[in-house]
Amino acid sequence: MTRARKAPSAAARVSLVEAIREGVGAVRTHRLRALLAGLAIAAAVATIAIVVVVLDGIERFARTSAARTFGADTFVIAKVASPGRISRQQLERKLERNPNIRRADLRVLERWASGRVVYGATVNRRVEVVAGSRSYEGASLVGATADLAEIRDLAIARGRFFTNTEELQARQVAVLGAVLVDELFPAVDPLGKTVRIAGRGFEVIGLQERQGNVGGASLDRNVWIPLPAFERAFGAPETMQLLARAPRPDEPAATQEAESRARVSMRARHQLDPGEEDDFDMLSPEASRSFVQRLSERIGMAAAPISAMALLAAIIVVANTILVSVTQRTREIGVRRAVGASRSQVLAEILAESVVISFIGGLAGVLSVYGLVELLNRTGLNLRLEIATVAWSLLAASASGLLAGWFPARYATRIVVVDALHAD
């Protein structure tokens, strides 16, 4: 053969396919120790995934709770929206600066809505409700517009909410919450009966479903009456709370548009200059979640280092396994180098073994968490293993594999070929 060869290129040629094949082969040969190393990674990845699932569960629980309290796509406009969450000073300032929101405001806003926003109004007061010989103190009386039923799901179990006509006529009708039904009408059907509030009689036309507690406060102590009837009994309220929503909130950006239109309308109504701060509060379900987010952040910060330690311990186990693998394969590595494998190729082959072990371990960890989640959901919890979590876990596992195998692999590339060929 007469071939002239050029000087060989110095670029490192790496066959990834071969590297992975060798990695898998190495794993198959020493199955037990690869299994143990993979198990270590599985345990570490599982802890990470579980923590994420738990935190995610907490956040979702908060979201559904907020939805139950005042509706999933509803936002609130009030003089002061959540007095418990701001500092005392801010509260004082708002109470001073923000004007009260009155009926006239509501009418104007509705006129400016042009079909993009639906408004309802509520006003609250603690009252005693009397039914015959029984009474309930500390009920939460809500004077509301009839549209409220449209804006948020009031979960009417039996009967109905009041209509626009009834509202206009200031009819004295009422919808009772579950606790009130328990206390005032334990043995009788409340529909059609009369309850007395502030000395006036209201006919019970609807009953709410039991909704339970949110953040310790019961949602079942409400009595809903038409806003004009409230005003007739207690006078025009100082300030009202407006609830608003986009008419079709599933359409994309509909809620955003509704919110911005409402904000613009309010600012115009209050005659604010462009640079001036809002003199009203607007609260969307997002905002109330921030508390829970802070809580889950705290938990996450506490759990993260613990999981990190677990991952570190697992990485060490894998590193040990790979180190042993390299030591045992010294001669084989020498042969490969003699036959022309580049240093990078050897690096790739060792790393491949490490990543294969870690990836499979990560997969096992994720699967076991999936199984655990399914099991726990049977007991009534509502946990979910998101795809993103799975992806991140597998990524973390693979990265751990790279990290674990790095130093043993570097050591492998430094093997002196001549010595390796005579090694044991």
């Binding site: 020493h30 037990l32 120790r33 143990l36 190393a37 198990l39 270590a40 345990a43 570490a44 599982a46 802890t47 923590v51 007095p83 500092s87 005392r88 000073q89 801010q90 509260l91 004082e92 109470l95 309930y136 103190e137 500390g138 606790v179 310790g216 406060a217 019961s218 102590r221 506490a302 759990a303 613990i306 999981s307 330690m309 677990a310 570190l312 311990a313 697992a314 060490i316 186990v317 590193a319 040990n320 396994t321 180190l323 042993v324 045992q328 044991d424």
Partner: protein, 413 residues
């Protein structure tokens, strides 16, 4: 034993890594345990500082500052004078004090304390009887508690908690602050006392440090709508239980409860509250320790791994040993000792590192006690031994069960 050390020393890198795995596990568990114990102790201290011989009476159960539950929403608050009645009639009770809780928003106005240009809106305003400070064992850094006279005359004087004083008058709020004025809802109150910083806390915060205490009589006059009252009743030494019973009897009478009606008030002691906290916290603590224990488990897997590798690598050596007379149990024992040694070294090392880290934490964090709870140490030692034994068991058995002839023929790996 020496054999074990020699065999392990043959592959120092391997052994070291396996040991480090256990060290990480032990350190994680220990640190978690220390932190949990510290948090719990701080909380316990918070409640114990309120007086271990005291019985607290309130019309609601749970945190007095939280909204009431459904069942208790209709209960009426206790009255200030009940305290005196109880002292008179309950034989085991020697003193009483009342604390009126003032809500944060009064008449649509948020409550904040002002001194010159400094404002604090985290202030907790309480109306307290003159004996309150004595009964809850409040330590004064400067000044004095109210007098009975000030209470009766509804004087506008105040005692400030340590953090509040600092917030209003700067870090050097000392004796010179006494006599200065704090504005509350536009009205001036003269500072007559400043409390020492409380030692206990909930993650470093203690509500008592933000308190502005005014005489109960003043509170009754200035804040007539505030009616939630906590009664602090000090029992004679060693008579806490009988005091509790006595108080219950008197209160039931004062509240005019029929014999079959349940209490419409709540009595508790600091130990009881701590107990409730412990019950709630136990679950969280268990989960956290469990999470930390995973690291330990992984460390154990690491040792098992090393042992499995060792057995396969030394197959021929095992054959040789058997050929020269080692019995099966000798082989088994050797491997078990090796794995135990690894775990114990890891366990000891881990405890050492944990102790070191805890000391560092104690230097850096204020109030952090470098306690390594005994159960954590025991857990660490026991789990190391257990890990070593378990991890080494199967490989050791496999080694012991080898056929010597096969072993000798085995290709050196």
């Amino acid at each position: 034993m020496r054999l074990a050390v020699e065999s392990l020393a043959a592959h120092p890198g391997r052994a070291a890594l396996a040991v480090i795995g256990i060290v990480i596990g032990i350190v994680t568990v220990s640190l978690v345990a220390t932190v949990l114990v510290n948090v719990r102790n701080q909380i316990a201290l918070l409640f114990r500082e309120l007086g271990t011989d005291n019985v607290f009476a309130f019309h609601l159960s749970g945190d007095p500052y939280s909204p009431p539950s459904d069942e208790e929403a209709r209960r009426l608050p206790l009255e200030r004078d009940f305290g005196d009645v109880i002292v008179r009639e309950a034989e085991a009770v020697e003193a009483a004090a009342a604390q009126i809780l003032i809500p944060a928003v009064v008449n649509g106005r948020a409550l904040s304390a002002r001194a010159g240009s400094a404002v604090s809106d985290t202030v907790l305003v309480e109306g307290t009887s003159a004996s309150y400070f004595d009964i809850v064992g409040a330590q004064f850094a400067h000044g004095r508690p109210f007098t009975q006279y000030e209470d009766r005359a509804a004087a506008r004087v105040a005692v400030l908690g340590a953090s509040l004083a600092r917030a209003l008058f700067g870090d050097d709020a000392g004796a010179g602050t006494l006599g200065r004025e704090v504005q509350l809802l536009g009205e001036p109150y003269a500072v007559v006392g400043i409390l020492q910083q409380r030692r206990g806390g909930f993650f470093g915060e203690n509500r008592q440090d933000s308190v502005m205490a005014i005489p109960a009589g003043t509170a009754a006059r200035r804040f007539p709508d505030a009616d939630a009252t906590v009664l602090y009743l000090r029992a004679l030494e060693g008579r806490l239980q009988s005091a509790r019973t006595d108080i219950e009897t008197v209160l039931r009478r004062l509240r005019r409860l029929a014999p079959d009606e349940p209490n419409d008030f709540n009595l508790s002691t600091s130990e009881q509250i701590i107990g409730t906290f412990d019950r709630v916290g136990a679950g969280i603590a268990l989960a956290t320790v469990g999470l930390a224990a995973v690291s330990l488990l992984i460390g154990g897997i690491g040792i098992a791994n090393v042992m499995v590798i060792a057995v396969t690598e030394r197959t021929r050596e095992i054959g040789v040993r058997m050929a020269v007379g080692a019995r099966r149990q000798d082989v088994m024992r050797q491997f078990l000792i090796e794995s135990l040694l690894l775990s114990l070294v890891g366990g000891a090392g881990g405890l050492l590192v944990a102790a070191l880290l805890t000391s560092v934490l104690a230097l850096v964090l204020p109030g952090f006690m470098p306690v390594l709870p005994l159960w954590a140490v025991a857990f660490g030692v026991v789990s190391s031994c257990l890990t070593g034994t378990l991890a080494g068991y199967l490989p050791a058995r496999q080694a012991a069960g080898m056929d010597p002839v096969e072993a000798l023929r085995h290709e050196a790996a």
